[in-house]
Symmetry: D2
Subunit: 345 residues, 4 copies
């Protein structure tokens, strides 16, 4: 396909993005060209927009941003055999090497040579993008296109919840951003007997309740560990899902967890943290897990199953919709924290 | 406590049971005396009633039968420290040795020296029974006493469902007896995306639907493997729970299971079965698990969590209630197969 | 590369193989051409040679046979990026689809669309063969080329041993063919406290002892279950590795296994088997696993580690060496059973 | 048994211990009286001797210290059924409640109500001690009595090594105290392909080499992460066993571990540690485990298997032997760090 398209690009080092008219990309033999129908803004996109320290070290402009989308295949490379023009897809945007130890032992989500489209290569905030066949995911019939557009963050939530036992377990989710909130119904669908969410922003606490939380906690006015103790006969929760990256939240998590509990870390702290390993980890026999991305593609099958069976409904999570050219308004609301997921149409 | 009580006993080799007036049993230092409020009839009790081959080899009359109950502690031995008179309890009736390899490695449900109360020792089909402290289970507030009376078979169901991954998995349950039916809401609560039940008796198929099955199958008029294939895009189910013991059901299970699937066997076949290991197990990489009893006491915590959180409702499963002296009518309905769980009050 | 080469081929339905002069194959973009230095004969090759029922149903002559080898890359396709001319390699000959559920969830060894080179496509009993990059395995320095030539069956052994807990466990290996014998030092290296091998052929029992078995059993003159009982204080072994496919061996395995034990099936029974699930699987809580192939590529990393660390020595296993043109003598000794692995140079 | 005995006791708050003549203790119904043949000094005993902050908060003198021993049963309580006078035993000195969540779900080593003999109750640094039947461990024939006396710390080592996959894995042990050194042959027996030990004291590095380490590292003059990188092709080790509690060692461990690696913490840091969760745990997908005690009694069976099979030899670890009345010399050498295990006879 030839011609030009609109793309939301970081043109040089510095804050902001620009809408540009650029050529439609050409596909390699193992790639497909996708016309994008829906896009969603990730916290990572907000970092890139703000041009924070991480972005400055990682991105090499010019680059088309965005890595959450849903669209239709419009062209296939000649080595593409399992996908066809017209199919509706989303994609895992971590392009992996398939040859490192992690890739070859079922842990491609930890590939040592990963390239992330929308971060290290051109992404989906455009009319079209190219994706390797190996990264595509067919969207099952009956799945809401907006849900299909957020498989990436939904996958973070599912992967974190599913990184240990869930059935009959009690959960404390630290941080009610979009991933923390998406984790609420996932916990419930996965058999959790109780899900608590600690979050400072009222809008997000309300959203967590809409998504099925049993109780939300405002850590600025309440003490999470005391509430947890009261609700678990003094035992603490079985699982803490850390999705805020905040040192205070992490400290509260260790106050709230049961002996032998699981403490799964997905939120990225912006600096080192001081902690008491003896009291918080060793004596109580706690397991602390670093969680990264989504399993390729075990998590994706789980997402399909949770959505097509109706066990998880993501509707309340999607709070805003904008046209792509209104991206500034969209990023502003994202940066305010008063949003769940924001769709760019 | 002195005095006499009513007890439903097998007095000698042969079919049937007799209601007898016998002394209230005395407790040892590590035991409690329980006044029984509710009892339930197990399939094992039906075997004992009929005096089948297994019963003839195992039981040594005279013996008070029954191993599913709910009641109140009325007396405690002087070495009992964690339970008190007045507490409402049920119990694991497998009295284990605590010294064999299985007991000492977290698998006491497979104890090499187990004594089952109601089978090898006096059971709960009586006004009172004695149980060692180590076997007691406090019934949490808010749990329906009838549910508390069936923790034993409910535990079989929970243990079988939980013997592998459940979230987002598809299940085929072979056999809709009380345990098979109890497994339906457990699968759902544990994250199953689809639960199918194959059962020949219409009453039980109907019960399975009431308990939340997505589809029931009559294996006499339908082909389970074809229905499974149609509902799983030709893949087969992820998990088969065999709860019938019937050779035809087992064969249908192997026709219906996915490569790498889990085939959990709880139902007891009455004789040897011929099977094609190459085609059914080795090439498809299937895992076949023998399941026995309930985990002591991991399964019991799971039951508490599933019931107190409201994720599982066992109400429809309890289809009949009788006074203990009407036991003949109760056993007759049990033997007919047109029943879920039957309570003796 | 152009020119012709020697290849050992099945030219039409029927027993035997023929040495033919055929063109050196041409590579696709994602393949490499390998000059074969060492080949080994698999039990599957013996089946193909004899033209048994399985071969008749599976093979479509003409076809170059063989799937165990070691060689050097002499040409690379233009999409091959991680391998170079001159590198010494072996390969996983299961060419998988990368798109089915099994492939996409870390179980590519159970791919639903597998093509096996040497069975479904041209194999390695030739001067040259082509292999996709994704299937290659670099042979670490210091590994004996003959060991590198038998990674395929060695991988079967490692995968079977490693399919459950090994450290401090007692093992009974049923069948002392090359894979059963290769499993002996793997069990030991993986922490087994005792390894017993039951095998009818004296040559193989002797080989098992050379490879480190603690005791061999002749099931024609001894009773495996009694010997196991005597050596395990009546408990039975923790793990049975079934590598014979023989119904009598399988029956002896179930007589010899501990409660809660692992029974891993790799040997392919030639017909259905009658077994007592109640007594052998359900009451004792045994897990029966179907094992197929080798994990891609977790097993391969384990093989590298076991060999390069010197924990496993396969030298005694390789009992015969022939030139490729003496293939008839090689297959004859293979069919006699009086051999470990046979190398074709 | 009546009469008096010698006991090494903490008589009041403050450093040191005193040898006292006190009555031989009397047993309860569920206990046995043991004549102690061998005792060993634990790091915990050194803390108690020095009367550090932890000891001041935990101990309530007067108290007989010591929790590592081997001896013979000389008297049994009337509820003791599985042990007899004359049997040679050691014991798990964590007396657990059997009723808390951890005890009832196979994790009694994390009991919420644990009482440790020798810390919270009278211990084994005496001629006799009493132990509940449930805590006894029969010493298999052929095990060296000195090895039997150190099952407690050997169990710490085994439990830490076995807390994840071991076969074919590379290990870095941080800290060459007795437990760190005992872990070396356990790693090897459990299939480790390489075991490195980082330790500042030369005597201990030498001991680690005697016990089978592939390489020792002096962290004061060498850089552990660089040595690890050189020996693992830049990947890092699969497993770090932290047995020093030292902040520098922990930091070096995170520099040395592979993506997706296991970081098991047994050593107790004396104060909080500052660490970069993003870089060290989350991005690389590392799992950090708090390890405590030994599994009851899975670890004990593993110890028996490792020792009776000859896969582990602890002889070099036992570097000093003293009579009990020479305890001051024994504690002095223990406090110097120039010792492995010290036996009190």
């Amino acid at each position: 396909m030839t011609g030009t398209m609109k793309a939301l690009r970081k043109m040089q080092a510095g804050p902001g993005l620009e809408m540009k008219e650029i050529p439609i990309p050409t596909i390699k033999a193992n790639e497909v060209l996708i016309q994008v129908h829906k896009r969603a803004i990730c916290g990572t996109d907000l970092h890139i927009y703000k041009w924070d320290e991480w972005s400055q070290n990682r991105l090499k402009p010019p680059l088309t941003t965005g890595h959450e989308f849903y669209g239709a295949i419009v062209e296939t490379g000649h080595d593409v055999h399992h996908y066809h023009v017209g199919e509706l897809v989303t994609a895992e945007m971590h392009v992996v090497c398939n040859q490192c130890f992690q890739c070859r032992t079922g842990n491609a989500h930890l590939c040592e040579n990963v390239v992330i489209l929308g971060v290290d290569g051109d992404g989906c905030f455009a009319d079209y993008l190219t994706v390797p066949e190996a990264n595509l995911w067919k969207v099952p019939k009956g799945i809401d296109p907006e849900f299909a557009a957020i498989y990436d963050p939904f996958g973070n939530a599912v992967h974190t919840v599913m990184a240990g036992a869930t059935v009959g377990k009690t959960f404390l989710i630290l941080g009610g951003g979009p991933i923390g909130i998406a984790a609420v119904p996932v916990c419930k669908a996965a058999g959790a007997s109780m899900v608590l969410v600690s979050e400072v922003i009222p809008f997000r606490r309300e959203l967590a309740m809409k998504m099925g939380a049993d109780r939300v906690i405002d850590p600025l006015t309440e003490r999470p560990a005391e509430i947890v103790a009261a609700l678990t006969q003094g035992q603490g929760v079985d699982v803490v899902l850390e999705m805020s990256g905040h040192p205070d939240a992490i400290a509260q998590g260790f106050r709230s967890i049961r002996k032998n509990g699981r403490f799964s870390l997905l939120g990225i702290p912006s600096k080192p943290i001081t902690m008491d390993f003896a009291k918080d980890v060793i004596f109580p026999g706690v397991t602390v897990q670093g969680i990264n991305g989504r399993r390729m593609f075990e998590t994706w099958y789980q997402m399909d199953a949770l959505l097509t069976s109706g066990k998880v409904d993501l509707k309340p999570l999607i709070t805003h919709r904008f046209k792509m050219h209104d991206f500034k308004a969209a990023f502003d609301i994202g940066l305010s924290g008063n949003a769940g997921k924001i769709i760019l149409e």
